[in-house]
Symmetry: C2
Subunit: 110 residues, 2 copies
DNA sequence: CTATCCTATCGTTAAATGACGATGGAATCG
DNA sequence: CGATTCCATCGTCATTTAACGATAGGATAG
């Protein structure tokens, strides 16, 4: 069990090229706003570290209520940084590698 | 005139090494929050593009009031991304290269 | 079917954001 | 000195965030 709900992440820290810097200001602003909270950064780090999915475990890792964590997850999900998959009675979260990469590119091109 | 208030920026897109990932969550969150607004991103881009300083010119570039721009500049200044130097009757703003680099490093290490 | 567990959503409250106009202070120009 | 210019700050208002407890819904377990 504990089958990952996401394909293994590809590690390509290079290849930060060809960026749509067009009207990407709103995109970058939305992504940056999602990062603009320590709790959400910790959640992201957790999801990256256990390069698979988690959910209620996140609540155990932080001194915050379940509803608060759920709200942060929704924030991250709405911006596309995180995906949630229903896995039986629980929900499996994981990082969306493409969006995270896009964020890194946009910031690197500042 | 128009003497730049900041030394010329060094372009070192590489060298993203040795990061204090320790308790940098709050630091990254603060920096990301500053980026979490399209207006502030545009201001940053302006300051980077004219790799020197500006001030009232920023107001002319955006459809926002002077007080609003001033508030955004204060936000960017409080987080360290921007510096302001008094230059006679006007104020000269420029990006703080070290902090911007730190931001890029922290995001790249996500 | 019923009970239990996990998560999302609702309702609430306090604080922070974002925008504006108006005011005030500092420095230059005349 | 006096007028003007440039910018920061103040006060206000609407919206958004962040946190909580409580509630509801969906799926498994018994």
């Amino acid at each position: 069990m504990e089958s990952p709900c996401c394909p293994p992440q590809e590690c390509t820290p290079g290849a930060l090229l060809a960026t749509p810097l067009d009207g990407a200001e709103d995109t970058l602003a939305a992504l940056a706003k999602a990062l603009g909270n320590p709790v959400r950064i910790r959640i992201l780090r957790l999801l990256v570290a256990r390069n698979a999915c988690i959910c209620g475990e996140i609540v155990e890792e932080m001194p915050l209520s379940q509803s608060t964590i759920s709200a942060h997850l929704k924030f991250l999900k709405d911006v596309g940084l995180v995906q949630g998959t229903i896995d039986g009675p629980r929900v499996c979260y994981c990082v969306n590698p493409a969006v995270l990469k896009q964020l890194k590119i946009l910031v690197a091109c500042l």
